[in-house]
Every structure is written in structure tokens, then in C-alpha cells.
Symmetry: C2
Subunit: 287 residues, 2 copies
């Protein structure tokens, strides 16, 4: 009897598809928190997978999906949103019976609708860890990326409740605070607090004349920072969440027009009131 | 002969009117860089001035402006833009003959026009150090706030060239990179790279439903950060620079509409092109 033996980790083999900032941070957190006996990275480019192994995000890696997930009780798909549905279906065909599959996609309604009646061995539960930044690549991964960040878990009416609980336990073990919503509610909310800010930041950067960039100080830098994010990844997110994003742009447009009117009419009380309402909202959230 | 004597500092007595983040950082930089023999803080509230003295931003302080500037070869007015003109005029009446007066206001055209034929003992040169943040108060002051940041110096046709050179030497000694423009060019440029980002950040924060704030992750936090700035201070800036700010809002509105159209029409190539143009512009500036 070895009394010093650590308790068995909750997961034996976990596969991570797409080992960039998010996937790499999941790997680091799984390993540093003793959550998995074996963490496998799966991707297309061996050179990137090798970096993931070097930084300690994965134990092993495969470029072949079927080999990578063959023994994975849990697979997490951390690829761009337009790839997720096809890859989850592919995993479900080759993973062990009863395996759990989740994702880290920034949109949920389309993905969860398409995967609601998943064929094969796997059960899918949609997730969205609301962490990350304009940086991508496993070089920026860190084991506390999800600490105190919200992860939204989005079951549908037909999702197995045991699978939902296992998914939530997984993200809680990553340090996340769990919020459970429908996929549709998720997409409506993130359109406002994530997709719109990205779009506004990008439009602001795109509207800046290059000759004025020498004057870009902290305000411009903060406000446009996320515009440095991956353009194709965000193109997919906007396309996928089109309806809600358009609605959020229009809601924002009305508030922007109110600011414009107050300045144009030199309505100082109204302008101050608008600025105070923005300040109050911003201050209710941490730095 | 004392061979270890330090060289005489370039300024004997410097007065700082308004000892908050900007004024306090000037005081700290003057003292840590050996630029002044005596740094005097001037303000309305003795309690704040006492804090400025405690953090080492000023040697002495006065709540009476005439007493504070009586021996100041250089006065720097770091108060909200709507106070600057009256205070510079007041300083000019009581400062020593030949004294230099400058400011740190975020708008320049109105101030420099009103102060172009300054009566009294002083000579005014407009300045705008493009540093600072959403934080205010001398508690956040630091002696490297201006290091490698641009300070715009805005002489008019009738500004004495020696006074301009002394002003530029002062900001260069603070660590700033100097850019000289007309007051009008300054206001047009900062409308785009400073006032517009603030307005957009504030509108974005104001447009966010409180119940969605739980989902506010790094993108929302970065993009709205400056909205936490002082509302009345920014109200004055927008009022003062109205024409250029309105033009910048309209220019931004066109780019935002282009993003909206590309999403509405599901024009993926155009949407990608727009996102790439924002990314490219953002990446051309540091973090």
C-alpha cells in the first residue's frame, strides 16, 4: 500500500484539437492541476505541436485525428468556429464509447443546433470559455488563463444532463466560473459584450489615418487593442452570429447618435449624463 | 571651489497649477531629473496638495495662485480645459517678468487663440503631453509618465520663438518626444486619435446592458477602459473641440457602416478585408 500515492486524476486521457492560446492553456491547466493522466494535442502542423509539447501543454501529439482521440474520454475542440461542427462529427466516429466532446467556440447557436443529434460514440456539449486576447499561439498559453473567467456552457433541451455536469466540472477544474445558458441566449449576449467591442475596435483602427498614428496614446491603444486579433477567425464569428451582431451594431449606433446629437447641439447636461452613464457601467467591471 | 557641486538645474522655481496625475507626474519628473531647484504645487484643496507633497511631487504648495507663482520662471497649468485661459491670464498678471507659462490641455485651438495676445508679465506657449490614462489623482503620478510619449507644442504665428524653444526643452527633459504643430492641426488630429476613441469607448460601455456585464471579458474591458475617465473633464474636451469631434464621429460612422454592410450582405471577402485593415493599422502601433 503506497500511502503517498496521489489521488487518481478525474480524467485519464484528454485530447485537445487545436493547440493555440486556448487549447494550450487548457493543456497547461490540466497538467498543472493534476486533472489528467495523459494530455494529447492534435493539429495539422507538427512544428506547432512540437512547440506545445516543449512548453508543457501536452504530453504527446498527433497530426491524425483518429489516432489522437482513440483513447480520449474527453476531447476539446479549440479550432476556429467554422471547423468545429465537422471536427466534432469526425471525433464522434472514432472516439471511445461514452466519450465527452466539448468545444471553445465563440458562437454557439449554429454549432449546437448542428450537433444536437450527434451520431457515433460521443456526446457533445457546447462551451465558450470567455478568456483569451488579441494574441494567438501556444507561446502565450498560461495555466491560469481561465482562472476566475466565465465559461458559458450551452446545453440544448436534448443534451444529456450527466454530460452537462461533467463538462461544467471540467471547466470548473480549469478555474472558471460556470454560467449555463441556451446557445441562443449565449449568442445574443456575446454579440453585445464581445463581438461588438471587437468590431468597434477594428472599425476605429481602420478609420485612423496612418499619419495620425504618431499621436496614438493610451486611449487609442486600449480602445483598439483587440483589433490586432486574427482577422479570419473574427470574420467567421461575425458571419456565424450575423443576426445578433447586426442588432448590437444598431443598438450601439443609437447610443453613438445620442452622443453626437448632444455634441452637435452643445447640450452639455445631456453630454455629461451620457458620459457618466458610460463611466458608471465601466466602473462596475474590474480593470 | 566645490568640484562635486551638481550643475545648476535649468529652472530655479517651477509652479504647477493642478497637481493630479499630469501635474504630479511633472513634479516627480522635475525633481527626480534634477530639472528644478524648487517645485511649487498650486491648487484649491490643501488636502490634495499635502498628498502631492507626501508622494514627493512638490517641495511646497499654496492655495493662493499669486503667492504660488510669484517667483516661478515657469508655470504649467494642468487643470481642466475650461479653466486654462482664465488661469493663464491670472498667472501672467502676477508672475515675474519674462516668465514662461504653458499648459497640458487636451485641446489647443481655443486656448491658444484666446491667449495669443497675453497681457502682463508672462509668455504663453500651448502644450499637450499625450500621456495619462483613465486614472486621475496624484496617487497615480509617476516620474516616467512622459517618457517616450509625444508632447505636442502648438505655437501660433505670433508666439516668441525663444519661448517655444524653452517649452520644447522642458518637455524633452520630461522624456517626451516633441511634435510641433499649429493649434488647429493639433485639434483635428487628436479628435481622431484621442477624443473619438474616448467617445466610442463611452458609448460602448453605455450601450451594454447591465445583465450582460458578467460576460465582459478582456475584449470589452480593453475597448471600454478609458470610459472610466472623468466625465466632466471629457465633456469639456468634446464641447471645446466640437467641430473636429463631429467630423471624426462621421468618418468613423462610415467605416462602421461598411462593416455593417459587409456582415448584412454576408460579403465575406469585404468583411475580411476590413478586419485586416484594422488589424494592420493596430499592429503598426505598439501594445
Amino acid at each position: 500500500l503506497d500511502v503517498n500515492k496521489s489521488p487518481a486524476p478525474p480524467w485519464d486521457t484528454v485530447a485537445i484539437l487545436g493547440v493555440g492560446l486556448i487549447g494550450g492553456s487548457i493543456g497547461l491547466a490540466l497538467r498543472s492541476r493534476g486533472q489528467a493522466r495523459h494530455v494529447i494535442g492534435i493539429g495539422r502542423r507538427e512544428s506547432r505541436l512540437r512547440v506545445a509539447q516543449q512548453v508543457g501543454a501536452v504530453d504527446d501529439f498527433y497530426t491524425d485525428l483518429a489516432q489522437g482521440v482513440a483513447r480520449a474520454e474527453l476531447s476539446i475542440v479549440c479550432t476556429p468556429v467554422s471547423h468545429i461542427v465537422a471536427q466534432v462529427r469526425q471525433i464522434s466516429r472514432v472516439c471511445p464509447a461514452g466519450a465527452l466532446i466539448t468545444d471553445a467556440g465563440s458562437t454557439k447557436a449554429g454549432i449546437c443546433r448542428d450537433l444536437d443529434r450527434l451520431e457515433g460514440n460521443g456526446t457533445f456539449v457546447g462551451s465558450h470559455p470567455m478568456a483569451g486576447s488579441e494574441k494567438s499561439g501556444v507561446e502565450f498559453a498560461r495555466d491560469n488563463l481561465f482562472q476566475d473567467r466565465v465559461t458559458v456552457v450551452t446545453p440544448t433541451d436534448s443534451t444529456d444532463s450527466g454530460a452537462v455536469q461533467r463538462t461544467e466540472a471540467f471547466w470548473a477544474a480549469m478555474g472558471s466560473r460556470i454560467v449555463r445558458t441556451t446557445p441562443e441566449d449565449h449568442d445574443r449576449m456575446v454579440a453585445e459584450v464581445s463581438h461588438l467591442p471587437h468590431l468597434v475596435a477594428s472599425a476605429l483602427a481602420a478609420a485612423t489615418r496612418p499619419e495620425n498614428l504618431i499621436f496614438a496614446a493610451k486611449g487609442w491603444r486600449d480602445t483598439t487593442r483587440v483589433a490586432a486579433g486574427d482577422a479570419e477567425l473574427w470574420r467567421q464569428i461575425f458571419s456565424e452570429n450575423r443576426g445578433h451582431v447586426l442588432q448590437s451594431i444598431d443598438d450601439f449606433g443609437k447610443v453613438l447618435a445620442a452622443f453626437r446629437d448632444a455634441i452637435a447641439e452643445d447640450d452639455r447636461d445631456e453630454l455629461l449624463r451620457l458620459l457618466q452613464s458610460g463611466k458608471q457601467c465601466r466602473e462596475s467591471v474590474g480593470s
